[in-house]
């Protein structure tokens, strides 16, 4: 009986992660469109939310990787999944506070791996699966995306060079809406599935479904709705960093960047690679700065992101492991409840901290001043 309570808590926490995943990653699809004013901020997040919802129903190959490919399902307990999710949520909130577009996927995988390591030791982790399906795609995907976006941007400017500026902006803004929509769809196919995979893992751990089973329909529906809601909430801090912080983006660049992201993410989904849509989007945006003559890339911002990417897996894993030790130290349902209380307290603290340097749809496009938040509260203007 208490196992069912725990299972319910794990599913709720999983959906909470899905929500943070949504708002952390709105930027991937919409940052460039918002920056070039191809779409108004509110329209952008609404459109992205709907397409994420649709995308979540399109494919299940990534969910299968997460549920079966990374840890030995026989050694995973509900507590492990719960602790892993805690690590992922906290790491997502911390990076959001700093406006860093870090990978929600790595936070999730790191958290679950950390908790698994803490619970069962290193033999429970499928290292080969981790390296071949997560680490290698993570290292390569930003470079591939940057290459594709650089070539695309170069070609687009080469071809459209003789057009009048006004008509070029107008035309590519329309193109941008299309390509950004595709990225949203792609995000749904890739990221919504990660939570589906984790919840499936919890159901396997609880014995509710058999190991290697398909994801149940109600899990797909719940995850799709939650990631759409998160996307609609809009992670404005991250949108700002990606849209304004890395490169000053013009419509042709934004169009090329989003096209590159969409192509790379959809291809990777196809291969069951759980890659980071964030890293792909960031690589593409860097590429659209490299492909245009005279465009500036702020490498210090890119460098800071790079550092965050490298530490995401281990730190989310560390938080996941600590969370596991707390839960198993206290034991049973009480341990999980204690973890839950800590999770809520930390989340509330981070949210409260974010209020002093607010970023919302009104100031998301203000000139870049080196920080995620345009200006501290109380400091003019």
């Amino acid at each position: 009986m208490s196992n069912d309570v725990v299972l319910a808590l794990v599913i709720i926490t999983g959906l909470s992660f899905d929500f943070t995943n949504g708002f952390h990653d709105t930027a991937n699809a919409m940052a460039t469109s918002i920056a070039t004013k191809a779409l108004g901020p509110r329209t952008a997040v609404g459109l992205s939310a709907v397409l994420n919802l649709v995308g979540a129903f399109l494919s299940l190959s990534v969910a299968a990787t997460i549920a079966n490919g990374l840890v030995s399902t026989g050694l995973v307990t509900l507590t492990v999944v719960f602790a892993g999710l805690t690590g992922a949520i906290i790491w997502n909130l911390i990076t959001w506070l700093f406006g860093i577009p870090s990978s929600s996927s790595h936070a999730l995988i790191g958290g679950v791996m950390g908790a698994t390591l803490a619970a069962a030791g290193s033999h429970a982790v499928k290292w080969q699966g981790l390296v071949s399906k997560v680490i290698i795609p993570a290292v390569l995907s930003p470079f591939i995306a940057a290459l594709v976006a650089t070539v695309g941007t170069y070609l687009v400017y080469r071809i459209s060079g003789s057009m009048r500026e006004g008509s070029r902006r107008h035309g590519f803004r329309i193109g941008q809406v299309g390509s950004a929509s595709l990225v949203s769809l792609a995000h749904g196919t890739n990221d919504a599935q990660k939570t589906m995979g984790i919840i499936t893992l919890a159901l396997i751990a609880n014995g509710t479904v058999a190991a290697g089973a398909r994801t149940p329909l109600w899990v797909i529906v719940l995850c799709a709705l939650t990631i759409a809601a998160g996307t609609y909430a809009g992670g404005w801090r991250v949108i700002r960093t990606l849209g304004k912080g890395l490169v000053e983006i013009d419509p042709p660049q934004g169009f090329a960047a989003e096209s590159s992201s969409a192509a790379v993410i959809l291809l990777s989904t196809h291969f069951g690679y759980s890659l980071s849509t964030t890293q792909v989007a960031t690589g593409s945006i860097l590429g659209c700065g490299l492909g245009k003559k005279g465009a500036q890339v702020r490498w210090n911002v890119a460098g800071r992101m790079g550092v965050a990417w490298i530490i995401t897996l281990p730190l989310a894993g560390l938080i996941g492991a600590i969370s596991y030790f707390i839960a198993s130290g206290v034991g049973g349902t009480a341990g999980i409840l204690l973890d839950l209380v800590l999770l809520i307290a930390i989340s509330a603290a981070i949210y409260w901290r974010s209020r002093s340097t607010r970023v919302n749809r009104k100031n998301v496009n203000s000139a870049w001043t080196g920080m995620a938040a345009p200006s501290r509260a109380g400091v003019a203007p």
Partner: protein, 101 residues
């Protein structure tokens, strides 16, 4: 294109080993074709669309339809190819993503 989609779908995610060079290679090549080639095609269409034609009285600065018949025909072809490619891509994702496992 068809042969390609078929072969990729067949392998799905049943790849063993530490690094799947073939998949990475395919992501780079198909990524360049779809992620850079299609935007270039869109740009060609946009440029053709903007080619000034005879019947045009006055073209404002952000008007992107020039009015040339040939231009419009080229543009329509380009946009149709782009849309078809996107549709094909999504179709492949859907069938392979639900068929395997």
């Amino acid at each position: 294109m068809d042969r390609y989609g078929g072969s990729v779908a067949g392998r799905g995610c049943s790849v063993n080993g530490w690094i799947n060079l073939r998949a990475i290679w395919e992501i780079v090549v198909v990524g360049l074709v779809a992620g850079a080639g299609l935007p270039a095609l869109f740009a060609i269409g946009l440029r053709a669309l903007g080619t000034p034609g005879k019947g045009r009285v006055k073209v404002s600065d952000d008007d992107f339809i020039g009015g040339s018949r040939a231009g419009i025909a080229i543009a329509a072809t380009c946009f149709a190819v782009v849309l078809a490619a996107i549709g094909f891509g999504i179709y492949i994702i859907v069938i392979s993503g639900h068929g395997a496992k």
